[in-house]
Symmetry: C2
Subunit: 383 residues, 2 copies
């Protein structure tokens, strides 16, 4: 397989885009990525999206967006893996270039969640869980994560405030990211006083409902010319799965898909967790950050929350996470999120992350989870 590099990145601000359609958001991000890559054509488009059918009545996004960006005719398709659709689209684009089939591939992620009522969107998001055995009983996706958080707190003797440092880190980092949804730092008091949405999860433990699009241009590393200086190599690409339903897992407090996909990625890149300079974690809920850090090998089991409490997840910490605000504060436009993570990791590796720059960042890991980590898509990017 050929080595693959990211040669262009693009993104829209993450917010409630009431004035722009999904196709406009996707086009804005993609045209930005093409400009950034200094190319005006591509062979194929793989677009990550979860809920365009349910929420805006549009499927067939591949052909739609290819046409919208002026590339009518090229290969295009939509990739869906719930909240990890963006990560899965990167995977599809990676294979298309690595195989030797294509020399210029666009990967995009786009999602518009605010066109429908929040209540309807909440029901739609539950389709990431098991419809027949979970959602049908009325449990929301937040509530599934709340079950996990509650059990985790019981098992390891924690209180909600032990999770506050994740939210404070994400919000602090979002302040300097012009594309982020929540550009305001928060205090422990604000975290503690936040409105609860599913005991013990408050709005401060949960990523927001929002819209956005992000895009990458991929090329074979061996073909780079003008793009070489700012190119970032994809050193690993790995996907693993788990049961959708929580009750079907032998050990619900261990994210086995995260462990499996992280291990595959470390092996492919030839590194260990200690080599990772920053980790864009899937912090849709605080509990997911904690359990991901453990399953991905950054903390001992039961010790994920301590990593944050001890200040190790900040820009200058041992394992910087959510460096541009993460899902919590940059925002989580579901199928776009995995691609936002890649865009931000590329900015870090290029040294273009401004005030949030992780010093001398050489190796970045990004991980996109679908459902309650029923899918885990891991990519490792290197300078």
């Amino acid at each position: 397989m050929r080595d693959v590099s990211v040669v262009g990145i693009g993104q829209t601000p993450v917010k409630e885009h009431w004035d722009k359609s999904l196709r406009e958001l996707a086009a804005e991000a993609i045209l930005g990525a093409l400009r950034d890559a200094h190319v005006d054509h591509a062979d194929a488009l793989y677009i990550g999206n979860m809920l365009s059918g349910q929420l805006i009545g549009q499927e067939n996004l591949g052909a739609l967006i290819a046409d919208e960006i002026g590339l009518r005719g090229i290969e295009a398709m939509k990739i869906e893996a719930a909240c990890s659709s963006g990560g899965a689209a990167i995977r599809a684009g990676y294979l298309a270039v690595a195989s030797g089939q294509f020399d210029v591939v666009i990967v995009a992620g786009a999602e518009k969640l605010t066109e429908a009522s929040n209540c309807y969107t909440t029901a739609a998001l539950a389709m990431a869980a098991d419809s027949d055995y979970e959602a049908i009983h009325g449990i929301s996706f937040v509530a599934l994560n709340a079950l996990l958080m509650k059990r985790y707190m019981y098992e390891y003797d924690l209180v909600p405030e032990d999770f506050a440092a994740f939210t404070m880190n994400a919000h602090a980092n979002a302040v300097n990211n012009p594309y982020a949804m929540f550009r305001s730092a928060i205090t422990v008091e604000q975290y503690k006083n936040a409105r609860e949405i599913a005991d013990p999860i408050s709005v401060m433990d949960s990523a927001p409902i929002c819209d956005g699009a992000a895009a990458l241009v991929l090329m074979p590393t061996e073909h780079l010319n003008g793009q070489r200086a700012r190119a970032v190599k994809i050193a690993a690409s790995a996907v693993a799965t788990d049961s959708l339903a929580l009750h079907a897992r032998r050990d619900p407090l261990w994210l086995s898909a995260v462990e499996l996909s992280s291990r595959k990625a470390y092996a492919q890149a030839g590194i260990t967790p200690q080599d990772v300079d920053l980790f864009e974690v899937h912090d849709a809920f605080s509990i997911m950050s904690v359990m991901s850090l453990e399953a991905a090998g950054f903390a001992e089991r039961g010790r994920g929350a301590y990593l944050a409490r001890e200040g190790e997840i900040g820009i200058h910490g041992r394992v910087p996470i959510s460096t541009m605000g993460g899902l919590k504060a940059r925002g989580h436009p579901v199928g776009a999120t995995g691609v936002y993570q890649a865009v931000e990791a590329v900015m870090q590796l290029r040294g273009e992350a401004g005030k949030n720059q992780v010093p001398d960042a050489q190796i970045a890991m990004i991980q996109s989870l679908g459902g309650v980590a029923a899918n885990a898509v891991t990519h490792i990017l290197v300078n």
Copy 2:
């Protein structure tokens, strides 16, 4: 890139499966394909589906089905390209094996359209068209095809009966296919007297709403051992797109995505249309068969219908199409259809098509269309 072969096939009957869920249908087809291939493991699963979110409230099918078939943990994702989702899933699986990444890959297609009311399903199917510029005005997907058929008839001076031979051929071939939905031959009189659903399209010009699942196992050709005798090689894999909206096309009576993806496939396989022994065409509507035969190079422009009238599309004709009943009579479980086409083509190339066997079939072409040919996915299979 490595050569890729189909080493196992599986399918469920196509019908209204009121007693089986989507996951059960998918598992039945996939386990059949694994048995047929004499393998009990796979590295990845790519599943084509269009409307599981809209019609059964379930996304994240990749992880769900991987778990259902006992392969929890493997890479899995859903591929969506409207009615060509099945073809696009084959494309994704093909690239995963051709790249060298995986040695055993499952491709599946599954769709359950009859869980919702027909009226709701009709609205959902319109999401294959342009929601903002077509579906929002109330036009159904059938009606879009009816506009094309009407214009085509005007342009080339045809009457509806000129299309009858397509339907008669499909139904005649379905009689001998135990997996087909409509196993009854029809007469010209029945065609002429059929209930109209969107002038000039009658139920006899339109594929039915139904459920089904089909699956393939793919392996690198160079790795075959026990599978070699019954393996079929994928000699070409190509995707092309067009605008979703009909009004945006310079020439609505020419399916440019079909032309483009067919040409790419012929070039990759090193053949011409004359070399094709059978063509599994996307006959969701009679007019699509006619226009596909033209754009894929089997008939001159305006002459597609004559091919059928002159008896050239039968099992013993010059261009056998819909050899096991096609979308019209085998049935069209949307996201599964492209994989059904592959299963049937493999049966033909193995010489296992029974009474419908195309004599000495060596080269089969299958083509899966999404929207009104906004996506065209073409594969060429050879013995």
